[in-house]
């Protein structure tokens, strides 16, 4: 057993920490405060981060990326999230799908898509699963063929014609390439009838609809993609037709979780919690009441205790699942850790806000962290995500 980081891991961590402190944090509140969700994005921070490797760090070395391991990725996600959770997520969203490209795309597809991805500092990736009437049905699919996603793809010679609508697509308004799940057999249950397509932004018949106006994670773009007889070449099918379950077992995932997604949310939450703990401790040590630092008060100490113990428990758990990912240990841990991160990020950010408000300070950043944390309920900790993790336990 050894918790020491390698020099390379430590170097990535330090670079990310510096970037978060010097570049991300200064723009974080300002971006959060922009009312129009289409305007919160900032290409400069993406370009700067990309030049440091934060966009492409998950791409394998043989394809020209940095080939970092999951431990490094977890460290970097947490550090970036200390600056801004949504900006961290924008970068790691690219890792998520570059993991997928590496694991599931053909050599030809890798050549066609990985190369431009690596060369262009503004090349972002996205993936479309959710649809207006299919949320948890995609996560825990029932056998009914009518349940789940409805976007259709019909084959016409060398092309597929896509029709339908995706919603809640991350990076929709800024991405250059999307992985789109579509139903290629209307009569079979979801798992046997779905195909994944690589769909470049300039695909004819595809357009971006509304950009969602989220409570938190303002920087992170999330929108609709509408397919109106969109033409996608057959060469862009990922894996087999009717064989999309690519981000899980077939794509090489032996971790029992989604290859990367569970770790991603848990590591990002850790960074937010670190930020909240640091804010709360600083407040308690500097702000006074009755002439004495808040830190002297027992009720304050007990809140700080809860914040820190949850954060340190989460850190321990995150680093463990990152290592387990690297070693392809099969367990339910990644999902459990993601569920846990929901409880932790919300409790810790809420306690931080309470401490500030109780001291007469309504800090906008403390409030932002709470809003950022709310999205975990849906992405990481709702009852479907929890039942999904539990069902892995019994396997």
């Amino acid at each position: 057993m050894d918790f020491t980081l390698s020099n390379e891991q430590r170097a990535w961590q330090m670079t990310a920490r510096k970037f978060a402190e010097e570049e991300i944090r200064p723009i974080s509140l300002e971006r959060d405060d922009i009312a129009d969700p289409r305007e919160t994005f900032d290409w400069e921070i993406i370009k700067k981060g990309s030049k440091l490797g934060f966009r492409t760090m998950a791409v394998p070395k043989e394809w020209g990326g940095h080939g970092t391991d999951f431990v490094t990725q977890a460290l970097v996600m947490a550090e970036l999230a200390k600056g801004d959770s949504a900006i961290s997520k924008t970068f790691s969203q690219c890792w998520k799908w570059s993991h997928l490209i590496a694991a599931a795309c053909s050599e030809e597809q890798k050549r066609r898509f990985l190369k431009p991805f690596l060369e262009d500092d503004t090349f972002l990736l996205g993936k479309g699963i959710s649809e207006p009437s299919a949320g948890s049905d995609n996560r825990l699919p029932p056998d009914d063929p009518k349940a789940g996603l409805k976007l259709t793809a019909e084959r016409h010679g060398d092309h597929w014609i896509l029709n339908g609508e995706k919603c809640f697509i991350a990076n929709a308004s800024v991405g250059k390439l999307f992985f789109i799940d579509a139903r290629t057999d209307p009569n079979a249950p979801l798992r046997q009838s779905t195909t994944m397509f690589l769909v470049p932004r300039d695909t004819p018949g595809m357009r971006i609809g509304k950009v969602f106006n989220k409570s938190g994670w303002r920087f992170y773009q999330n929108g609709e993609i509408i397919f109106d007889n969109a033409r996608v070449p057959h060469a862009n099918v990922v894996g087999a037709v009717n064989g999309s379950d690519m981000k899980t077992h077939a794509a090489g995932d032996r971790t029992g979780g989604d290859l990367f997604g569970d770790l991603e949310l848990a590591a990002n939450a850790l960074g937010v919690c670190d930020n909240a703990c640091a804010m709360a401790l600083a407040l308690a040590q500097t702000k006074t009441q009755g002439g004495r630092p808040l830190f002297e008060q027992q009720v304050i100490q007990l809140k700080l205790n809860k914040m820190h113990l949850l954060t340190e428990a989460l850190r321990s758990f995150v680093m463990r699942i990152a290592w387990e990912h690297d070693h392809k240990v099969r367990s339910a841990n990644a999902g459990l850790c993601m569920n846990f991160s929901t409880d932790v990020i919300q409790e810790v950010t809420e306690l931080n806000l309470d401490l500030h408000a109780g001291a007469g300070v309504l800090d906008p950043r403390a409030e932002k962290l709470v809003r950022d944390a709310i999205i975990w309920s849906h992405l990481a900790g709702d009852s479907v995500q929890r039942m999904k993790a539990t069902r892995r336990l019994a396997k």
């Binding site: 009312a35 009518k146 409570s215 009755g290 008060q297 409030e367 309920s377 849906h378 039942m387």
Partner: protein, 409 residues
Amino acid sequence: MYSLHLSPEQLQIRDTVRDFVAREIKPLALNPNRLEAPARPLLVEALEQASRIGLRTFALSEDAGGAGADNLTCCIVTEELAVGDPDVAAVLAQTSILARALFDSLMTPEQRARFLPAFVAKHRYHIALAEHEDGRDSMLGVNYHRPQASEPRFSTAAVRSGDEWIIQGRKDRVVGASIAALFAVRASVGDDGATATLLVPRDAPGLSVSEKEASPRWQHGACGSVTLDHCRVPAQNFLAADAALFVDEGRRIPQEQALALGIGRAAYEAALDYAQLRVQGGRPIIEHQAIGAKLAEMAVRLEVARAAIWQAAWASDHPDAFADASLPDLPLSTIAAVFASEAIYRVAKDAAECFGATGVMRDMPLHKYVQDARTCLHSGMESSEAKLRIAEALARYRRPGSAAVLAAE
């Protein structure tokens, strides 16, 4: 005799307000454009309509032109209003309760004659309490169970000059600042820093209102700040006896909790409706155990909170029930607040979770409910502070000279 029957009048006013909220307030309050907008201007038209059905003067005695409602009925109305819009609910609650206190008991006949007719006549006439000052440390905190706590001096000061009082200072978090026609301003007077209350009309020279709200919000009611720069009011605007305005917080009308309850109910009702419509796994999601159990938890929290809030509301009107031991000798309003604010925030979060991704979108109601419930967590006393105050009451701790302090509070 113990009875939970509401009177026919109470049932009727509840139905009337519920209907009013559904027809007149919800369509405005839940308009996606309004939901998405960074600012949330007060629904002045709706306030005026509410005044026309008697809600602005609801607690004022019938003699004075109001409806003479008791505190429980006021809380019932506040809950209903808050289901629609918490700002409307907060402003009406404040005006109505202040009007009763001022016109029915605290003002001299001269003051009453001067202010009451306009108040009753004008549907847009609101009254606001200007009390809070940034940086004034009124916490118990370090002084828990220590003798030194006393009411800190207001930095806003009023000085007598001939026939006038001259007020200098700045108040923030003033509920309904944008619309109030009359402010009850708390200030220190004299060398000993004693606290007094002055009636300051909006048009008093030297008074200015800034409507810019803090972001995030401290509390509901479209708060703003009031600056008093050499502000002059006639000597007769001094409120001789203001104690009744600032009774023991532990026993006062739990309006803020009723307001939180309305927010929680709106969130819960939205989730209950949605869970019966939204189909996943081939069934409406309410038919899945996980969602059913979550809705049940929400209902439990809301019903239990309401029982505690109504108890505190009724108690705030019936001190004799403490005396005869029908109720425990405890700060019931603070107790209701500690429970309700946290319980209701959880209700709102759980309700939003039922909506999946749409639960966090700014153009959708659930985001608003969560934010509004969170504001309630910070609008009153912070929870640890409230617990320390309850703890002093449990221990029957009395600060030296606290009788006087309490009376002045």
